[in-house]
Amino acid sequence: MLRTLRIILGLAIALISSAVQLVWADDASIVLTRLATENYSEIEAGVTALAASAIPSAEAVLNALADSRLSYRLSDKAIFFKDTSGKWIDAATNAAPSEQPTGLKPVKVNNRVRRALDAAIGSMTLLSADPKKRIAAADAVFKSRDVNTLSALDSVIAKETDAIVKQHFEEARAAVLILKPDAPEAERVAAADRLGQRGDQDALALLSSVTNANATANVIAAGSLAAKSISRRLALLSAAQNAWYGLSLGSVLLLAAIGLAITFGVMGIINMAHGEMVMLGAYTTFVVQEIIRAKAPSLFDWSLPIAIPLAFFVSALVGLVIERMIIRYLYGRPLETLLATWGVSLMLQQAVRSAFGANNREVGAPSYMAGVWDLNGFQITYGRLWIILFSLTVFLALLGVMRGTSLGLRMRAVIQNRRMAAAMGIRTPVVDALTFALGSGVAGIAGVALSQIDNVSPNLGQSYIIDSFLVVVFGGVGNLWGTLLGALSLGLANKFLEPIAGAVLGKIILLAVIILFIQRRPRGLFALKGRAVEQ
């Protein structure tokens, strides 16, 4: 109903505008005033009309409306918009007004208006010089399937040189045609094939809405054929997709656990405050972003790279203090470290609560972490991709420290034989302190990454502590590779159980499996053997 209305209006405006080119200014004001209202369906219609009109400011106005830079004067319903530099432009004259406009009211949009805008801007930018814009436009049309754009599409497809852009155009055209009852059958069948080649969910959606209500037998046949091939493809994809999810979940577990692999795995401290170290890292990220927002918004994309060393430093420092003040008195009494660190975690949580308030804090995502990378159908979200890479980097770096550096060497020495190491002149207390600080610092780094996918709240740490311990124990205490393998296999297992058993039951099953596994191999995946390990 609305669609047809919009078409009619659009055509009407088109006629007028084309007929009376000279007096477009008054005509423009007619069209533009339709935006000067609170009624969304009015605005929506206005948008379509504006798109169909030949008003020079149209595109600018629509864009302004899209990112809410558009206002109207209550007195005479004249439309003004801020240009990107922030100064007011009078839409009717498409020039800066003589005096600063006053008594303005912003034009609001809702989802329907937004959709109309996307469609309109899309159909207008088909001819844009920038191929990216053209592709965006094509996709907009693919979504809106606005019949009016058909002629425009035909002409641009004819002109288009860039193969990829052309493909997008043709897909858009196919999308329009496939559901256009009055289109010639041959064209619609061709459209079906085109969509079949595109082969993603959206194409499938279109094809599945081809019914005998709106198509002839042949079209339906072609449609269902294409649909079948797509769904076959998608079935394959989903398996791969699942593996990817598992991988990324695994990387999160790895991040959460890797610090613990040092403090618990290597040093044997049941570090219940580990989660809080992660939390501190997350809050550091928050603070960094706050400062950047206030001082240098342009640097926002750098907030995470800046936060990483700081987070490490903060958590490491806190870790150092804890080690010096509490843990150093508890070596060789692991179960007592549990109690003390539990107390520490309570205090840290409350401290953060007092400092930052109890509710969640906003940590924004830098531009390079937003969005999806679509390898025709196989979707990789950049955020997750970064986290996977990041966790692996952290892991390798840590491995490097343990293997390569003299600190790492001394650490291993102290862990394997404290007395001997001391006898050889290694200052074991220093090494202990540094090791714990290192573990805490790594946890802090993890917090930076986790702030991107989870709540930044005082409870952040608590939600990871159990999983972290499981990962370390499952992987085999004292073995970094074990932690890596443990995290990844748990992540994958979880993700492959989830579709079958559901999120909760899947997790329960996994826990049961781990419990049984530890019965089989009491020392985890990678166990040390021999007379060295006794009690």
């Binding site: 959206d202 999810y245 409350q350």
Partner: protein
Amino acid sequence: MKRLISTIAVSAFAAGSLLASIAAKAEDTIKIGILHSLSGTMAISETTLKDTMLYLIDEQNKKGGVLGKKLEAVVVDPASNWPLFAEKARELITKDKVVATFGCWTSVSRKSVLPVFEELNSILFYPVQYEGEESSKNIFYTGAAPNQQAIPAVDYLMENEKVQRWVLAGTDYVYPRTTNKILEAYLKAKGVKAEDIMINYTPFGHSDWQTIVADIKKFGSAGKKTAVVSTINGDANVPFYKELGNQGIKATDIPVVAFSVGEEELAGLDTKPLVGHLAAWNYFESVDTPENKDFIAKWQAYTKNPKRTTNDPMEAHVIGFNMWVKAVEKAGTTDPSKVIDAMIGVAVPNLTGGLSTMMPNHHITKPVLIGEIKADGQFNTVWQTPGTVVANEWSPYLEGSKDLIADWRAPLSCGNFNVKTGKCGSKS
């Protein structure tokens, strides 16, 4: 040393009885209990409500208190621990002798204290939207019942977004379960086919949403306009919305309408990717009325934080508190049993420019607002019920409760009167 041990035991016990005797000394202030978690998982949501109450009491005292006496807030921390809620409620009423209590957020905490309030015949104001299916003589529900939030939201999506396919996603506890049952029944009544409804439950604090969001995406691309109705609980929302953003689900493709995401929750989020997703509440901070502007100004002044947000449960407390004050003045006493009777019919202005009235079912009338998330973390009201809506505490869409009504006026004065059997359910 043996003596020492027994002394420890005894002294501890002595200290305990001391706790009791404190209660004995008389007070010339009126005490109000505040029972909101200040630590643990629920502190995220409840701490603000504690501050709200302190603010309201402070305001009232500036106006000279109630019945010529100053009000005094008694704050305790039930620490997101449900049995502790009951214990603290008992302590507030018997030890601190509070005349009314404002508190609880989760249904379970309310369920936990309900017997206590009934046993000791005191008053609880419960400010959060909930699943309904309850009406206690001693509890006043100032939050929304499902029909004051969920059903209008669905109607809006049907009419304005032409939604034909529904995902009901919720955290696995009683509020989402019940709300979704009601919605399912409602949608089916509206002719939505079973295969067009997808129901999904996740545990508390669920943080890995990749699979589910992907499923939603798939479900949504079946050629019919799809929307998600989210009853996901506070903590899990942030990762949920972040994942929506990541997988590039825009509100123009699959709008998500949430019932437990307010300004507070959005404050923890980068809302730019979420522009256009919806929430259904009875109040938005962005509501453009003098009452609201005035409230926000005073609130931010009181908290000395110009960025401090407001939200729906806060408004509920504002309404509830004003109602209580009015009822007390009407009854001329703070004696709960009298106040409970006086409460019914009390009407006070809400912050959205209307009047909210306490109905005989101990629920209040509210307007329903649908808002779209804006880039600045506020809501843009896109639809609103013309008047206020009366709560259905017992949903007509549920098997067990369709014949039940609540009316606490004499002679009926029953929370679950069965119109079929003509009996008051619990005293059959």
